[in-house]
Amino acid sequence: MVKPVAILNAVKSGLRHLFYSRVTRRYPEVESGLPETYYSFDPKKGVATAGWKGRHYLELDKCTGCQLCSFMCDEISNAIVMVEVPEVKFEQNKKSLFPSIDYGRCVFCGLCVDSCPFEALHMTPEIRLADYDRNKLYYSPLELSIPPSVGKPSYLVGKKKGVKT
């Protein structure tokens, strides 16, 4: 069964690949080229829209502080903590309770997005979250409400953007 001549075929096959285009990508300079859409969940239909599961985007004017995302996350990775942000006042959120997310712990499963009944949480194509400081991985509600620099929020067209303070 073993034919030593067949090794020439392998060499030939390898040589042919000298003329193939490169499969690797110079990543930090060259992006992946995938469509940059948000992962959002429609609670009425019970179905999400396909998109990146990167950093979250929080719409402060929709969040009621109901803590459902936090309850879901508790036993998964314990990354979401509800915090009080006194300077942000909204009619629907009297206590000013908003989720904050620790990306040192988040596993990016997106089940917090699915559990939000008010479409306030989304996941975005912003995936470069690495930092030298662990504390900087901890995103406050105000940081989460800043729309990411990358990506087209196609599911949020016509909607109010996050509140910057």
Partner: protein, 578 residues
Amino acid sequence: MNDLFEKVQNVAPEAQCTVKGNRIKITTPVKSVVKVAEVVKECGFNHIESVCGTDYPTTNTMEVLYIVGSVEEALKSKVVILGSRIPRDNPVFPTLTNIWPGAYFHEREEYEMLGIRFEGHPRLAKLLLPDDWDDIPPLRKDYHLKKWGTIERVDSGLRIERAVLHNPPPECIPTESDFVKVKTPPFLERFQQALDVPEYDTLGRQLFQWVRKDEQTIAISFGIQHPGSGHMRLVLGVDGDIITEVEPDIGYVHRGKEKMCEYKNYFQNIPLLERPTVHDSSGMLFPYVLAVEDLLDISDKVPERAKYLRIIMAEFNRILNHTYWLAIMGIFTGHSTMFMWPMGDRELIIDAAQRLAGARVTYTYFVPGGVRNDAPDGWADYVLKVCDKFEERINHYREMYFENPLFLARTVGVGVLRRQDAIDLGIVGPALRASGVHSDTRKDEPYSLYDTIDFDVPVMKEGDSYARCMVSYLEMYQSLKIIRQAVKLMKPGPVRYHVRGRLRGKEGEAYARTEAARGSLSYYIISDGKEKPYRVKISAPSFRNLLAGVKKLLPGHRVADVPVIHWSLNYWAVEADR
């Protein structure tokens, strides 16, 4: 089936048989369990799948279930669940390793996890837990996991600083003393007794090998930092260059997922359970969602489109797993090109899966009731294009690797697993099919519309490492064939039956099995009507494959053949340890 019931009634009149679909449950008192097991084996159920022990402190009993399948044509879709209850104070059960030799390691696992002593077992030692474990067996209900620490936060305007304060660990007092009293033989016991163990050589360097005084046998460690597969160790007794005995030592990446599952609800378990094999994450979830749907009574409400999307995702993961496996196989045989090519070509499939599920490896895409999101516009055409390109790429592997004399010399005739041994030891997946057994859960017990799809199951007769490699390689072509058909069969429609509120499974149990990339994977879930499962038993293909396979295959081979045999069985340490 009536034949089986009659025979069981003859040997054990008090045995009870219940049939639910393809699941035959036989409960019998412990004194007649051996006789019933012999009858079940005679009737053709020869392929052990799992041994599941469950603790019931309320009734002061423990239940031991032997889950047995078959590779015979008429019985392939059936599963016998044979069990009996034993008192919790004195959990003693007769071993069934004489009847199903593949139960060897399953029984050892249940022994250490629940403290059930299997009488007559050849070597009842610890397997997954650390050797110095001095607490009660962890899967007993009175063993509690430590809670998460509280998080203190100080709102300082923009940045929130946090400090994690873990609760002091609760005092773990072993209440079940019998487990502690049984002195489990520490690992390497038989080596240490017979060996002179010099710890340091004359220069003061620590030695990693032990020489037996009376013979020429040397014990060498293959692992722990394993060259390729993950953290596990094989202790090899070698005479010259020939292996004479093998003792696998696993559990270095054991996380106790079966225990953790009991603390999470059915949704929260999803990210946890896909993590044992990240490159086969959807395949790992598949039986879990099927079992939970069975418990929730929503199996028939899952939309058709969701079923096809699940098939596509599972087959993507099968390809990802096999390319990853092929890359490491290339490294093990010293063929660096074969590491680079599959690793590069995987990116095509990863990109297609990411467009659908939004992540590169851990998709968290399957949920009870369907899938989480529909495919984006134009995705189906993109997938067909990717399939064509990928198929063109893997055609090159044949010339470069599978017909390469260097690879053939390393694998042909190495580690031959005979058909009967493979069945007896409970081998699954490509390793079983390479030994000439036509067994694939997708064909045997079609789930999730696999019966509407036309595909073949590659089977080879040789049973050596080359056949195992070739079967996995040919499976990639079949996966592409399945994906192409599923994309075309998929019609627009809903993708998820959304269960409002919290999921509460009905009281009872569900057993689901699917064909994951490494072989038949099954979940046995017991629910007591609450939000969280009462017991989750994962029967992972790696656990069934390597342990039985390596002990059988390695003796008689050279040390240089270990990587090839070990990796051709497609072993993944994290999946086996769970």
